[in-house]
Each structure stands twice: as C-alpha cells, then as structure tokens.
C-alpha cells in the first residue's frame, strides 16, 4: 500500500465509529473504493493478507456479516477460521479473555468478534496483541455496517456534508443506528431518528440529532431513509403494541415513497421483514440500494482487515 495509507490509519482494532475522526473514516472509505474494483475482476484475489490467519469468533447467530467477513478475508488471501458459539468453549465456562488468548497462541492475527455484550470487543482488544474487529457488540456498535452504509450513501450522493439522513425504527436496541449516528455526524451529515418514543432514547438529542415520532411529517425532508429491522420480541416487552400498528405508523410503502424526494435513497441493513418495516415494492424498487449495501460490505471489510493488520505490523506487533 502507498506510504500515506499507513499514516492515516494507526489502529490495530476497529471497535466503533465513535472514536474515529472524519479523516480516518474517509480513509477507510477511500481504501474500500479501491477494493471494490477488485470485485469486478475475473480473478478476485489480492495478496494483502497472505499467510495471515483471520478468525470469525461469533457468539451470536449471523449469516450475512460472517459470510461477508469470510469472503473479504479470502479475497485478501488470508486463512479463515470460523468459531460459532455452539462450538466454542463459551458454553464450558471459559472466559472470553481466556478463549482469545488461547486462539492467539495458535497464531491468529485478526479476531472478528460478534458478541451479545456491549464492550466485549474492547475487553478482547486490550487483552490481545492480535487485531480485534467488532462485528457487533450488544446494542453498542456495529462499525463495519455503519461504514458500509455510509460508503453506499457516499456512492449515491457524493459528499455527505449537510445531507439529511434518517434512521427509521428501533433505535434503542440498534447497534447499527449508533454506528451510523457517530459516522454520519463526523462527516457533517444531518441525522434524524424516526420511530416510536419507546424505541428512541431521548439521550440521542444531546448528540445533536433530530428525533421525530411522526414519519409522515418528515417524508420529504430526508435524502436517505435507512430502515432498521424491527425485532418481534420487542413487542412482547410492551415497547410497541403490534406489528400492524408499527406498519401503520412507520412502515415504508409505495404511498409513503411517493411523498419522498424524487431521488431518495432507501436502505436497510437486513435481514428484511417484508411487509412490516418496508413493503415488497419499496425493497425491490429503483430507489432501493439494499443489495448494493451487501456487495459494498465486502469491499469495506476488506479495507478494514487490511488497515488494522498493517497498523499492527507497523507498530512492530
């Protein structure tokens, strides 16, 4: 990689977007742009992580994110090992730190961790020399999802300064929302959160974001609607009355789409509940970039893996 790249990124871990500067975020996105081009070649491999071992350590089920990280590591020529909760020692009572140290002793270079507990990647990162990449920790952050969302927005809209981005749905329990908020604020975008009062903590106001409980009033205000998956179990906890009422108040359908700006960008981090937070037509319609988010995810994760590893090596790790 060019000299400048090494200086612009010095972190051996990616734990969240909160701690990243605008320059760091832009550096990841620019690096990802380069990798996106590789995906269009007939031979989709680059040698950046040849001889390195990447570990997917997943304590929560995931198909999309785990596969995306695996493919990203493979395209960079790394060896990849998957450990999911059922097969790990977590059930035998081994602590996370001990698990990490054991895996590190086997020569793992990068640990990609998904965990139910907020802060678990931070705990691992300070216990290991290996790079740690957060693939989602509790309701804290999901930085690579945030980065790929922002990458996709930037592709569609260019510079995001002053652009108006809405996140719709269950913000309280969404790590994707938090990573989006931090990243978008750093890039100078205007961020709005839309959803029921029981699913949007008022504390976010202190970060300078807008909070709306009436979606219909702000349909023509935003350039992007990033629609979050609604978790059915929240209904049981009494946070919203029913799926039908949620769809009635916050579901994005063709009727609502028709009242949005003409070039509005519709996003969803997946997996989609069709007919609930987003209608079939909108999900597959021409404003939707949902599948583009998935393919961009690969390029963003390649960039992240390469950057953390080279930062670790230049620290002499």
């Amino acid at each position: 990689m060019p000299e400048t790249a090494a200086r612009a990124w010095t972190r051996k871990d990616l734990l969240g977007l909160e701690e990243l500067s605008r320059a760091e975020i832009e550096h990841v996105l620019d690096t990802a742009t380069g990798f996106k081009e590789i995906s269009t070649r007939s031979i989709k491999k680059a040698p950046a992580l040849r001889g390195k071992v990447v570990l997917n350590l997943f304590f929560e089920p995931s198909t999309r994110t785990k596969t995306s990280f695996s493919l990203a590591a493979q395209r960079l020529s790394a060896d990849i090992v998957d450990i999911v909760k059922e097969a790990s020692s977590a059930v035998k009572g081994e602590s996370l730190v001990d698990t990490g140290r054991n895996l590190e002793a086997m020569g793992v270079d990068i640990v990609i961790i998904r965990h139910q507990q907020a802060g678990a990647p931070a705990l691992l990162a300070r216990s290991l020399d290996a790079c740690v990449v957060n693939a989602g920790d509790g309701t804290h952050e999901h930085p690579t999802q945030g980065l790929l969302d922002i990458f996709t927005m930037r592709e569609k809209l260019g510079d995001l300064t002053g652009r108006k981005i809405a996140l719709v749905g269950d913000i309280t329990h969404s790590r994707v929302a938090r990573s989006n908020i931090w990243g978008l604020r750093s890039l100078g975008a205007e961020v709005g959160l839309i959803g029921p009062k029981t699913l949007i903590p008022g504390a976010f106001k202190e970060l300078g974001v807008n909070i709306h409980h009436n979606l219909d009033e702000v349909l023509d205000h935003y350039d992007v609607f990033n629609i979050l998956r609604i978790q059915m179990e929240r209904q049981n906890k009494g946070l919203f009355p029913s799926v039908r009422e949620y769809h009635y108040l916050y579901g994005i359908d063709s009727k609502r789409l028709s009242r949005m700006k003409s070039g509005v960008v519709i996003m969803h981090p997946g997996p989609i509940n069709r007919g609930i937070e987003i209608s079939h037509e909108v999900a597959d319609g021409e404003n939707s970039v949902i599948l583009r988010q998935v393919s961009n995810g690969l390029a963003v994760r390649m960039a992240v893996l390469m950057l953390v590893q080279s930062a670790r090596e230049s620290h002499g790790g």
Binding site: S95, V97, A118, G119, A120, T139, E141, R178, P201, A203
Partner: protein
C-alpha cells in the same frame, strides 16, 4: 502496671467534641486519658501506675478519632478466597479505620447467633480493626421470618439489614423494622426498586451510547422513599445506605422534615466518578451497585453532605477476584474495594474542593457512623474513657493508587491510576500502634 501511648504534636481534630487544635493525645491502657499538652514526667505523676510510655511523633499529621466504616463486605464466611475477616480487618487498618461493620450477605448469611459470634471471634483473634456484624433482619435475608434480633444484639450485632432486599419483600421489611424498633437498633438498607434497577450502569445518555442496559435513578428514589415511609410507620431508625441520586437525597430530606428517624450515607467512590467512565474502556472496576451517576447527582450528594442530610461516608468495600472482574461488562459482578482509598477520596473530592471542612468530613467518618452503630458511648470521639482508637494521617500526602500500593488482596478499585491526596500514617486501635 499500665502502658501509655502519647501522640505528640499533631493537629488534633475531634468533631464530636468540637476540638481542632495542636496538641497531644494520651492513651492509657487502651483508652483515652486526655487531650492537651503532656510531658512524660507529668504523665507519670498523674498516672503513677504507668510503667511504659510509647511516644508517637504526630507533627505534620492530623490526629483524628479512628475511622469507622458502616459498609464492608467480608468474604467470610463462605467466600474466604475473596477476603477473610482477619485480612479485611488488616486492610481496614491500612486505610485508617479502627472499627468496621461487616454486612450479612455472606454464605451462610449472618442471621444467627453462632455466625455473629464467629465474626466477633475472628475479629478479636486478628487484633486489627474491630469488626462488628450487621446481622440479617430476617432469616436467610428472605424478608419472611424474623431473625432472632434480641439474641443477635446480645451476640454483638450493631444493626440489621437484609442487604439488597429492602423492597423485594416489603412486608418483611416493615415487620422487621417494627420489631427492631423495640431494641433501638438501626435498620440499614440500600434501596433500589428491584423491578426497575436491572441493568449494568446508570440509565441515561452514557448507557444509551455504551449500549448497556441502564438502571434508572427513579428506582432509587422510589425505594428510599418507601423505606422512609416504613420507618415512619414502624417508628424505627432507618439508615439509608449508599445514596447515589439527587432525588434520593431529596426523599431523605423530606422524610427528615416529617420527623422520620432516618440517617443516610454515601460511599466515597460515588463522589468521585460519573457514569462517563464506563464507556471509556468498559473497565469492570467501574461496575458498582448502585452505579456511578451524573455530575448533577454528585452535586446533590455534596449538598446533602453539607446540609447534614447525609450523615456518613462509607467505603462500600467489596473485594472481587480478578477472574470474576475480567469479564464482559454486562456479565461481571458489581463491587469495588474502598477501605484504603476512602479517606483520600474524601480529602480529594470533598475537602480539597471546598465542599466540606476537614472536621466536617471527619465527623462523617467517625462519630456519625458510631451513632448509627450505637457505639457512640465508646467510639468515634477523643474523650476520656473512650476506646483509644486513632487515625493519624498526612492530609497533604499525594499518592498514586496502584495495585501494589493497596494491601487488599483484591485490587478491584476504580481509583487505580488516580492520584489522591491524604494518607493514613499510623492507626492506633485500643493501645496498639500500627505504623503504615
């Protein structure tokens, strides 16, 4: 023949007697004899039975009554690997404490005479700080059947508490308070509504961003207010432990106005940290129950201390072994050690900041907790005939809190890495001098 200890040339502060002046303190046979100017020959004249005089040079030091801590968790019985009573009592001496109350949340709980006597015996055998049991209000701390409170007092119980269960079984607490009121003993509970106070940290901005479940402040206000109402109904002295929120301070203040017999306490660490420390690194040494709150709450705690709504400052000392703390924040147990940092935290975060004078602060570490424990007829003040317990500390000594600087076997302190002011140099317990 008798032995005497002469503590010479210190700034003697006795908050109970309103005394603050340079002088000497004389202890004869483990009890205070006099404050004033003394010479050895005068001592021998006045106390002809004295055969030996030990002199302690206290110049540059503050000479205060031995510190008294209402809130120490000993691991023993049941979890001796965390802290034994003997070692905990030694750690207390390092922090300037000469008397500590240990809480009944042991395994088995301190709900019977044998357990109370065991604590006393371990404490006497060790010979460091005196450890007095706070015994369970109900059997097995279940809030159902009453513990044998009358006999437990005989065995040495200084107060009663079901520890952590004040509102789990409201009927039990109310009955317990009614019963304990007969014996003029305090019922100590820290109160959090159990249905609301689930979570890993203070609910609010920081928890929202950390992605951790939060405990709302209202859970504390609700439970403290409820316990005050029970105390009113029962005519019992209720000691509200570990206040952390603005509105809990207000609730105690309101109850006082209504003539409820309520005293209150804050742990020193709750004056030093806000919930903003958690998100920095998810360091589980900041995981404490109740959780660190906001700077607004701290301001109210300080106001409560100034106005006398909060009477006591405790350490809330709870040792946790490293393998339990080195976990994900949401999974690690609550608890911090505090015996060795409480005095310094009080000086650093209350006295140096101008919130309290040193004598005012010391009252909350000596005579006031002695009153809650009903030991104020012999402890907490430098008065002739009282137990000769002293804490001699350098009020200006700056020190960095490191694992090695702590005598505690467990190092789960939120102050690790912090520089604090004030450190105990000698602790004297009934005639025994410990140079630290």
């Amino acid at each position: 023949m008798s032995k005497a200890i002469l503590v010479m040339g210190g700034r003697v502060i006795d908050p109970a007697g309103g005394h603050d002046a340079e002088g000497d303190v004389l202890i004869v046979d483990g009890r205070f004899a006099a404050i004033g100017k003394h010479t050895e020959s005068a001592i021998r004249k006045q106390h002809p039975q004295v055969s030996e005089v030990t002199t302690v040079d206290a110049r540059g030091l503050v000479v205060a009554p031995g510190l008294i801590d209402l809130r120490v968790h000993m691991g023993e019985p049941g979890h001796d690997s965390e802290e034994t009573i003997a070692h905990g009592a030694e750690v207390a001496v390092h922090g300037g404490f000469t008397t500590v109350a240990c809480l009944p949340d042991t395994d088995p709980p301190l709900d019977n005479v044998a357990a109370a006597l065991y604590v006393k015996r371990q404490s006497e055998k060790a010979g460091f700080a005196e450890v007095h049991p706070v015994c369970a209000l109900t059997r097995n701390r279940e809030g159902k059947e009453l513990a044998e409170i009358g006999q437990l007092i005989e065995a040495g119980a200084v107060a009663f508490s079901d520890e952590q269960r004040a509102t789990d079984e409201p009927g039990g607490v109310l009955r317990g308070m009614r019963y304990a009121a007969m014996f003029d003993r305090a019922v100590i509970e820290y109160a959090q509504d159990p249905g609301l106070a689930t979570g890993a940290m203070n609910a609010g901005f920081e928890a929202t961003l950390a992605g951790l479940p939060g405990m709302p402040a209202v859970a504390e206000e609700l439970a403290i207010a409820q316990a005050c109402m029970f105390a009113r109904e029962a005519g019992c002295h209720y000691h509200a432990a570990k206040l952390t929120t603005r509105n809990a301070v207000r609730a105690v203040k309101r109850a006082r106005k209504l003539k409820v017999k309520v005293t209150a306490e804050v742990c020193a660490h709750h004056l030093a940290f806000t919930d903003a420390v958690v998100r920095r690194a998810y360091d589980t040494n900041f995981k404490v129950f109740p959780p660190f709150r906001t700077s607004g709450d701290i301001a109210w705690l300080k106001r409560g201390l100034q106005e006398g709504v909060i009477d006591c400052i405790s350490s809330g000392h709870r040792p946790v072994p490293p393998q339990e703390k080195e976990l994900e924040f949401g999974r690690a147990p609550f608890g911090v050690v505090g015996l060795e940092t409480t005095l310094a935290a009080v000086i650093t975060h209350l006295v140096e900041t101008g919130d309290l004078t040193l004598p005012e602060a010391l009252a909350k570490l000596t005579i006031n907790p002695a009153r809650v424990m009903r030991l104020h007829h012999k402890k907490g003040a430098i008065q002739p005939g009282f137990d000769g317990d002293l804490c001699l500390f350098d009020p200006a000594a700056k020190w960095e809190v490191t694992p090695d600087a702590l005598a505690s076997a467990r190092k789960n302190s939120p102050f690790i890495g912090a520089t604090l002011t004030g450190r105990a140099k000698f602790t004297i317990t009934r005639g025994k001098v410990f140079a630290l």
